[in-house]
C-alpha cells in the first residue's frame, strides 16, 4: 500500500511517501516560501524520484487540523482533488497527534503546539504508554503564557514541539521541566502522518474527497462576534436534526454511530430521548439516553469541536437530567473513558459519582470505562 502524506498546517510544508510501512521519501521545507507555490512541485518531485506516478497512490494522509487556516486548506484542497481524480480514500490525520508522534516513546509528557496568532497556540497533551500514544486532553486554543504556566505546574518533564514553540519562546522557558524538541523532530513530519494514516486505514477510519474537511477548532472572528449575540438554548431533538447531529458525532468520535442509527432513534426507539443545544439556530451539541424502567442510560454526548470550552456540554447534561426528571426518572448513568479527565470532571461537577470500572470497554483502544451514576 502506497501512502502519500501531506502536512501544510504550519510554517513547514512536509510530504512523505510510504510503501507498506517503508518510508520511501520525505520532503520538509521550512524556508518561508508559500505552500501554495511549493506543494505541487514537492509532490511531483517526490513521486518522480521514487519512480511512482500519482495514480499509484492508494491512500492520502492529510493534516486535518488544527493549524493555520490557509495552510490547512492548501493541503486539503490538493489532497481532496487528487483523491477525487484517482478515486482513493483520505485519512484525516489530526495535526497535533501527528506532531506528538514525532517523539515516539518519549519518556515524559508531549505537548505539541501550533501558532494560533496573537500570542496563542493550538495545543494538546499526550503521553506514550506501551508504545501507544495516549491523548490526555482535547485540542484547544490557549494563550501562550497560560500554557507555559500550566505545563510548569505539571511538575514533570514535558517536551514541546511545533511552530507554536516560537510563540512560547517569547515567554520564560527556563523552567527545568519544559524541553524543546531537537530541530529534526521539532516541526511536523509527513512520515508521522503517514504512520498514523496507516493505522487509521486498518481501523477503517478513512473518508472520501467529498466528506473530508479540516477541523479548525476556531471560528472566524466575524462568526465569534455574531455568536456572542446569540442565545444558547436546549430542546428535544427531532428527525429534521439528524444531519446536524450526525455531523457532530463524526467530528467527535473515532467510531461514530451511523446516520441510520440516529434516524432509528428518532423514529422507532420509544425509549430514546435526545436533547440538543443550539446557539441561535446552529446545533452545537447533543446528548442521548435510553429510559430503561426507572433509569436513564446516557448513550452519547458530544459538542461540536468549534464550540468546545463554552460550557455547552454542561448545558446538555443539565437538560438531560431535567428531561429525565420530567418523566419521573431520577437516576442517570453513563460510561466514560478513564482517560477523559475533562469529561469526568464535568460529570462530577453535575452530581455524578464514580461507582465502578468496565475493563476494556472501548474496542478501538482497549481502554477501560468508568461507570458513573447520578441519583
Amino acid at each position: 500500500m502506497l501512502i502519500l502524506a501531506i502536512d501544510t498546517s504550519s510554517a513547514t510544508a512536509t510530504t512523505a511517501l510510504m510503501e507498506d510501512g517503508r518510508l520511501l521519501a520525505e520532503y520538509n521545507q521550512n524556508s518561508g516560501k508559500t505552500h501554495s507555490q511549493r506543494l505541487m512541485l514537492m509532490i511531483d518531485d517526490m513521486l518522480k524520484s521514487c519512480g511512482k506516478k500519482p495514480e499509484d497512490v492508494d491512500l492520502y494522509a492529510c493534516a486535518a487540523g488544527p493549524g493555520s487556516f490557509t495552510g490547512l486548506r492548501i493541503g486539503a484542497s490538493a489532497v481532496k482533488t487528487m483523491a477525487q481524480v484517482f478515486n482513493k480514500p483520505i485519512a484525516a490525520v489530526p495535526t497535533l497527534d501527528a506532531l506528538a508522534y514525532n517523539l515516539f516513546n518519549f519518556n515524559g509528557l508531549v505537548c505539541p503546539t501550533l501558532d494560533a496568532q496573537r500570542g496563542a497556540v493550538y495545543s494538546g497533551l499526550y503521553k506514550w504508554e506501551n508504545n501507544k500514544l495516549l491523548k490526555l486532553e482535547d485540542y484547544r486554543v490557549i494563550d501562550g503564557k497560560a500554557l507555559v504556566d500550566k505545563l510548569t505546574a505539571l511538575n514533570q518533564q514535558v517536551a514541546i514541539l511545533g511552530d507554536g514553540v516560537e510563540v512560547l519562546k517569547q515567554i520564560d522557558l527556563t523552567k527545568s521541566n519544559i524541553l524543546i524538541a531537537p530541530p529534526g523532530h521539532l516541526q511536523p513530519r509527513a512520515s508521522s502522518g503517514a504512520a498514523i494514516a496507516q493505522q487509521m486505514q486498518e481501523n477503517g477510519f478513512v473518508e472520501s474527497c467529498y466528506s473530508f474537511r479540516p477541523v479548525y477548532i476556531r471560528k472566524s472572528q466575524a462568526e465569534v462576534e455574531y455568536e456572542k449575540k446569540q442565545e444558547l438554548t436546549t430542546r428535544p431533538m427531532e428527525l429534521k436534526d439528524v444531519d446536524d447531529v450526525w455531523e457532530i458525532e463524526k467530528l467527535s468520535f473515532r467510531t461514530p454511530w451511523s446516520r441510520e442509527s440516529f434516524v432509528e432513534e428518532m423514529q422507532t426507539n420509544q425509549r430514546a430521548r435526545y436533547v440538543l443545544a443550539e446557539l441561535g439556530d446552529t446545533v452545537v451539541g447533543y446528548g442521548g439516553m435510553w429510559f430503561i424502567v426507572d433509569e436513564a442510560h446516557i448513550t452519547n454526548i458530544a459538542v461540536h469541536p468549534d464550540y468546545r470550552g463554552q460550557k455547552i456540554g454542561e448545558k446538555v447534561v443539565e437538560a438531560m437530567i431535567a428531561a429525565a426528571q420530567r418523566e419521573s426518572i431520577n437516576s442517570l448513568t453513563l460510561e466514560v473513558r478513564v482517560t477523559n479527565t475533562p469529561a469526568i470532571n464535568l460529570y462530577k461537577k453535575l452530581g455524578f459519582d464514580e461507582v465502578g470500572i468496565r475493563k476494556g470497554y472501548y474496542t478501538d483502544t482497549g481502554e477501560d470505562a468508568l461507570i458513573m451514576w447520578y441519583k
Binding site: 508559500t34 484542497s77 489532497v79 467529498y210 462568526e223
Partner: protein
Amino acid sequence: MYKDTTILAIETSCDETSAAIVRNGREVLSNVISTQIDIHKKFGGVVPEVASRKHLENINMIVQEALQQAGINLEKVDAVAVTSGPGLVGALLIGLTTAKALAYSINKPLIGVHHIEGHIAANYIEHKELQPPFICLVASGGHSHIVKVKDYDSFEILGQTRDDAAGEAFDKIARALGLGYPGGPLIDKISLKGNPEAIHFPRAFLEEGSYDFSFSGLKSAALSYLNSMKMKDEKINIADVAASFQAAVVEVLAEKLIRAAVEHNSKYAVLAGGVAANSKLRQELQCLGSQRGIEVLFPSSILCTDNAAMIGSAAYYRYIRGVVSDLTLNARPNLTIGERV
C-alpha cells in the same frame, strides 16, 4: 482535421464556488455555480474566512457536477483554467490549489486567468459574433473599469474608480437604507417603485475627458441626505432614495462608456461584471447607444455574476496562443488587468 478544445474552469475569487466545462471558448457545456449569499447575509457582507471554508467544502462536488452536467469525463479535458486574481486571497487559493492538483493529476496544462478578463469574456459566450477590439465597462462589487479590449489577451485601462467600486456603493447605500445584502439587486428592484428624479444627487464626471469614476461623493451625499431627514424626523421614501441614487450611478457609468466607445471608434459598447445585471443601466445604455450609433452588448444575468464559464472562455484564448501557467502559479489578490497572470 479541426480538433475541439475542452476546458475545465474553476472560479472561487469571492463568495461563489463555480466550475464549468467550456468548448472552444464560446460553447458552455456546463456552468455550475454554488452561491454562499445566504451564509454571508447575516454578517452583512462576505466574510473571507467563512467563504474560504465553504469553497473547500464544496469545490470537489461542484467540479464533479460540472463534469456530469457536461456529460464528459476528465479524459476529455484539454486544460484546466482557474481565476488567480484579483479577489480574496484565501478564497482564490482554494480554486487555485484544486486546479493545480487537477491539472497535475490529469497531466494537462494549467491556465491562470484574470477575473476581470473573465467577466469581459462572458460576452464572447453570449455574443458569438463579438470579437476584439471593443470598449467594455467592467462594473462589480470590486471593480469599475473602462477597458479597451485590443485583442483577446491585450487590454488597456482607459479609466477606473478613484475610490469605491460601483457595486460597493450600491452595497453601502442598501445597508444604510436597511435593504440588506447584496445591495445591487435589492436597489434595482425597489427602484422600480421609486421616482429617480425625487432627489437630485451629484453626478461626478470629474475633469473634462476623464474616463475615471468617483462614487464616494455620491455616497456621502446620499448618507447625509438620510441623516438630515432623520434629524428633521421626516419620513424617508426608500424607493425614491434608491431610484435617485441608482440614477446618479447609472448616468455616469453609461455616459462614460458610450463616450469611450464613440471616441475610440468602437462599434460596440460592452458591459460586464455583476453591475451589468442592473436593469436601469442596461436600459440607459441601450437608449444612449441607439442615439449615438453604438451597439450595446451585455451578458445574460447568470453570466454577469461570478461564474467559471467566463474563466473557461478567457482561458481558451490563452490556450490557443500557447500561454499556460506552471504549478507555482500563486494567488494574486491585487492583480491589475492586463498584467501577466
